[in-house]
Symmetry: C2
Subunit: 326 residues, 2 copies
DNA sequence: CCAGCTCATGGTATCGCTAACAGGCTCTCC
DNA sequence: GGAGAGCCTGTTAGCGATACCATGAGCTGG
């Protein structure tokens, strides 16, 4: 920086000002400095800047498994929003979902002086991990429950599940089975709640809950069991990958979709329209959730104490895997 | 740090040593310092450390679309390896794949004093972006070609495609059609080359190349066209998602898989075993690629000039979408 | 008993930048 | 024409750590 200052015939302070508050420098001086910056290919040292300002322009994301479609898409949304605002994103992935690791992840990021942290761990353990946060560190949660001490951006799982369930009932099905995600996942329990509430509101029997682990494999295994129950005519599956396994199991066992059984998924992965049959599902706009989370975080970093929750509405996408009850 | 030093009755310098070179401090003193560290919940300020040492413990990843299965899995592998070595990962995603953006992504990371950069952009433009790198910055590429000026970790696409093609020929098919990924993607051209070379080596006709864009949609559209060509009995598709579209198109047009047409995919996404029919495909161990890339980068950071290329072998996974030619 | 070594620790300078204040210049306006 | 208000720009100090060298204690060996 000293060199740039010398080349431009000004002091280091002026160079600093050109970079941080250009309007405070006379245009002519500014031009000379910028020319010198280019000439020497000068780049400010962010470590030094962080040291004195305390702000780094980096935000941290704590996440679990970024190969899952939802978290990966959310992360991507966050990254895009961050790029547009000249933030950089550091990620701390967790080997397991529990309080200890979440706390450790946040610590790891904090030690790098991130300006804020977004936690993408839609699991009950996240709540514990967010209980006693280091004071002064802005934190936002993605997909968490309502009882968190931090702002939350999330898709309204309850509403999405309710829509899926109502759709099936409206086709004439007596009731709807639900294959849920693993217990303790916030998304999973939100979908269970939405499903159950619609059945209860409509006075339908609430059948036994089935529990998978998000994988197509678990959908397939549980689907085989379901295929043996002749009174099952409508299944709401908690994500598209499990739904894919269910579709295959039903087909193998000779039950036609949608003639014999209707199936609804959740997520609307890009491939859902190419399942056999094309899958009716609930679209979640993960990218939008990521962007909302980033906005919430920006607000907190700026000292805002405003909104604590931003819900993104899911959308039912009707394709060919659902049909009227026989 | 001063406070810790005082509480432990030592100088700041000793505290620093306890944290960076514990063996140089008498065990007894070390214990006192560590106790003080815990008591005050002291955390070193990484910015200050970076300022003086020049090393940050952060590595950067430049990537394109982290919602794609391959890049997401690779990123995850890198992150896991990094965590195990106490590195943090910053990501810079690119709005478009070209020289300018890649350079800008690297610059963005460099301005944060990352210790090294891994570029996950298996596209020809990456090569240009890697031509004139800032000197002194260790860079490793993932999935790039052979002519890069930096070390590369990659899956051997050529070998994988060759295996897939030979598998189809061994089932008695006269020749094999190939639906490739978009031009200029390294993976895509590697697979094309492997496919073509086997056909030529076996003296088979090399049919016109078909080109998709990695999406199930493009697979579906091109699959519909292929379904009309009765002499097509074997298709090697450049990724599983496109293969899924092809499967659906063939089915819709009344062509049975594998009885009439055999289909092989590439990637082995977790769902491939639940396609209809279960997809024969080429498994790529993306996680391993990520880990190898990280190892290469660590080596470069440490000043190594060793190996420039680490190939990960893909594996043919035979399922039910391929069968003997009629 | 002391030169000469090792080992543990401390003092000081410095990394590159910006906050806070200081000062000089121009301009306005009575 | 001079006080006062702006506007630019410069000077100084310090952010929190580590590199480097100095220092003193304890030990070895002739």
């Amino acid at each position: 920086m000293e060199d740039v200052a010398e080349l431009a015939g000004v002091s280091a302070m002026t160079v600093s000002r050109v970079l941080n508050a250009p309007e405070k420098v006379r245009p002519e001086t500014r031009a000379r400095v910028l020319a010198a910056v280019r000439e020497l290919d000068y780049r400010p040292n962010s470590a030094a800047r962080v040291l004195v300002t305390g702000r780094s322009g980096v935000l941290g994301v704590v996440c679990f498994d970024t190969t899952l479609y939802g978290p990966a898409s959310t992360l991507f949304g966050i990254e895009q929003a961050a790029r547009d605002s000249d933030y950089l994103v550091s990620i701390a992935s967790l080997p397991a979902l529990n309080r200890t690791w979440i706390t450790r992840g946040i610590d790891r990021l904090r030690s790098q002086s991130v300006d804020g942290v977004i936690v993408v761990a839609p699991h009950e353990s996240a709540a514990e991990g967010l209980r006693n946060l280091p004071p002064g560190l802005p934190v936002v949660d993605v997909g968490g429950g309502t009882d968190l001490p931090v702002p939350v951006a999330a898709v309204d799982q309850y509403a999405g599940a309710a829509r899926a369930t109502r759709h099936l009932l409206s086709l004439g099905h007596r009731t709807v089975r639900h294959l849920s995600g693993p217990p303790n996942w916030i998304d999973a329990s939100g979908r269970v709640a939405g499903w159950r509430s619609v059945l209860e509101a409509e006075g339908r029997e609430v059948p036994e809950l089935l529990v998978g682990d998000w994988t197509a494999y678990s959908g397939y295994e549980i689907g085989k069991r379901l295929a043996h129950e002749p009174d099952v005519t409508a299944i709401f599956v908690a994500n598209d990958h499990m739904a894919m396994g269910v579709l295959r199991a039903l087909r193998e066992m000779g039950r036609r979709v949608p003639e014999d059984v209707s199936v609804v998924g959740f997520d609307d992965v890009p491939e859902a329209a190419y399942f056999w049959p094309p899958l009716t599902t609930v679209r979640q706009n993960f990218g939008e959730v990521g962007r909302q989370a980033f906005q919430l975080l920006l607000d907190r970093i700026a000292g805002g104490e405003g909104e604590a929750r931003r819900m993104v509405e899911p959308e039912l996408v009707v394709r060919e895997s659902t049909g009227v009850s026989r």
